[in-house]
Symmetry: C3
Subunit: 261 residues, 3 copies
Amino acid sequence: MFECRLPKAEVLKKTMDALKDLIKEAVWDVSAQGLSLQSMDSSHVSLVQVTLRTEGFDTFRCDKNIALGVNMDTMQKLMKCASNDDNITLKSEDNGDLLSLIFESPNGEKTSEYEMKLMDLDIEQLGIPDQEYSCTIKMPSGEFQRICRDLSNIGESVNITVVKGGVDFSAKGDIGNAKIHVTESSNVDNEKDAVTVEVNEPVNLTFALRYLNFFTKATPLSGQVSLSISPDVPLVVAYEIEDLGHVKYFLAPKIENEDDE
Amino acid sequence: MFECRLPKAEVLKKTMDALKDLIKEAVWDVSAQGLSLQSMDSSHVSLVQVTLRTEGFDTFRCDKNIALGVNMDTMQKLMKCASNDDNITLKSEDNGDLLSLIFESPNGEKTSEYEMKLMDLDIEQLGIPDQEYSCTIKMPSGEFQRICRDLSNIGESVNITVVKGGVDFSAKGDIGNAKIHVTESSNVDNEKDAVTVEVNEPVNLTFALRYLNFFTKATPLSGQVSLSISPDVPLVVAYEIEDLGHVKYFLAPKIENEDDE
Amino acid sequence: MFECRLPKAEVLKKTMDALKDLIKEAVWDVSAQGLSLQSMDSSHVSLVQVTLRTEGFDTFRCDKNIALGVNMDTMQKLMKCASNDDNITLKSEDNGDLLSLIFESPNGEKTSEYEMKLMDLDIEQLGIPDQEYSCTIKMPSGEFQRICRDLSNIGESVNITVVKGGVDFSAKGDIGNAKIHVTESSNVDNEKDAVTVEVNEPVNLTFALRYLNFFTKATPLSGQVSLSISPDVPLVVAYEIEDLGHVKYFLAPKIENEDDE
């Protein structure tokens, strides 16, 4: 049997919002370590990986590793039936074909139990190798979302150039071109607003804005986003979920001659 | 001649919002007792009944009973031209074919007079018998709206089961099933937030969510909604309009074998 | 070379919002006096004229008069990439085919440079003669916007009747008719909320609401709007942009027999 409980449904609602436009079906892997999910997006271009660690839950019981195949749209729809302040319990029998989602209002007067049918999904997990990156940028997640959205007005790709002290995001298109320069914060009073740029080796790589715009649906999960970049390996766009885990997105760079639309 | 005046247009705007999705045309009956309206919805499944009592108006004059046939969409559109704080006067000649709606801004600098063409409608009024009910539930109107909306994600019908101390709202569908339990409030500091459950006889009945979702358009009118339920007679969903009257909706239960879509 | 700088992008964003639904392409004329733009709307019924004076800018340099042909939609899209608080610099070479828009965030950590392709537009400027008007009305811009929107529920035209002390806006249509009377303010504590009515000669003229509704897109630019009206000449609907200039719209009255749809 699997059963876990979180004090606020909000965090799981936001996690589902961060995934549902990108993936249609996925498997939640449940183990003593917690919940995790890994999936290619439906067009098989990018990869998303979610970890929710046991320690972050109020209670967590997992008698046996299980795989919960879910329709993401359905699960997000049901999660929206929870109020942000409700506490939430997820529950499933070891060989069951149902996942129970139980929401309790803070005053205890309302309890909602949703039973969602599970799916038999056969999804192969890829190993994601640990990796050193040439550059790591941390910046306000809302700022990154804004940059991706603004540059989408100009073109389909963003070129990211990282040098010591700052990052350039640039795009070209029929109506003109754009370059947005973000400077590393000199002194950081508020960690959430800070921009930090770690550079082992400068990089200059190009990515499809379409996918970055999907990734930034995770913005409500965290005040900061981190971008880990190296040539020839996928970019990692990571959002930490406080005390609980993270949502990470992986996207390979465009190769040069794809670059110029 | 008929003429009445309310200090705030808001209440009449909200009343029109509560009706216009359900009924296309209706007759306002004007008498010394006030304004009232009764109409089947356009698909002839549910019934709505509105009473606005003379005592709730600033001034009310009705020389002779009249029937004002209106297109609800038009009247709602014109009511939206009033600001919430405007005072409002309704006026009609005894044999006229116009209803005047006059809105005055609080500072007196703006007066708007709309003349709406009346319609010749031949609508038979049904008597609604007074009735004892097996169960009466009072609960926050926003909570009831939320429950109806959330369960619409699951299925087309809600089963309402009332027992001493609480109510279960449940639904089934292709993606799974749901049961929302609402417990009677133990101590009630704030009357608007209270849940009270009066049970003469437990009930277990099923209703079409499509219509309940129409009824909850009246939510802004009142902090509380009351549900009066008995087997074999229509459910009554009632919203009190403070000091002025009420909007009541009637909907027959589904019979058993309609239940399982 | 042309280069100018404003402390807040907001004012230019709102100016573009006020224009983009009415005109598709236009020429910004740059001279030592500032920026100006004049254009018929795309259906050649109304005229819009914008002036942004040199004195209102932080810095303004114009070595030689130039004409910047722009696609309004593109320019508005790029302006939306600025935050309201960003300072903004516009820049263009004398014989260039690009306009640079540079936005700097208040904390200096983000600089965005957009280069927009210019267009070769051949637009003849009409002289707008200075003119005495029979009546001039000043009123809260939000109130005027509301009146135009509300009367659009009734008909396609508004009749404006100005007499000493007040204005009537009226409309007729299939569903009925409407008359909104606005009274001159007696004492004016807050200039923005005041209604003033100057009458040399009473007027009674009719205008197409479709265009007035386009004009009121400028409402966010200014708390007050002024309407200058005379028989046989276009109505002027003017919004002052504080310290910087104005947006003015011109619309000819309808002649009598067009009046009755």
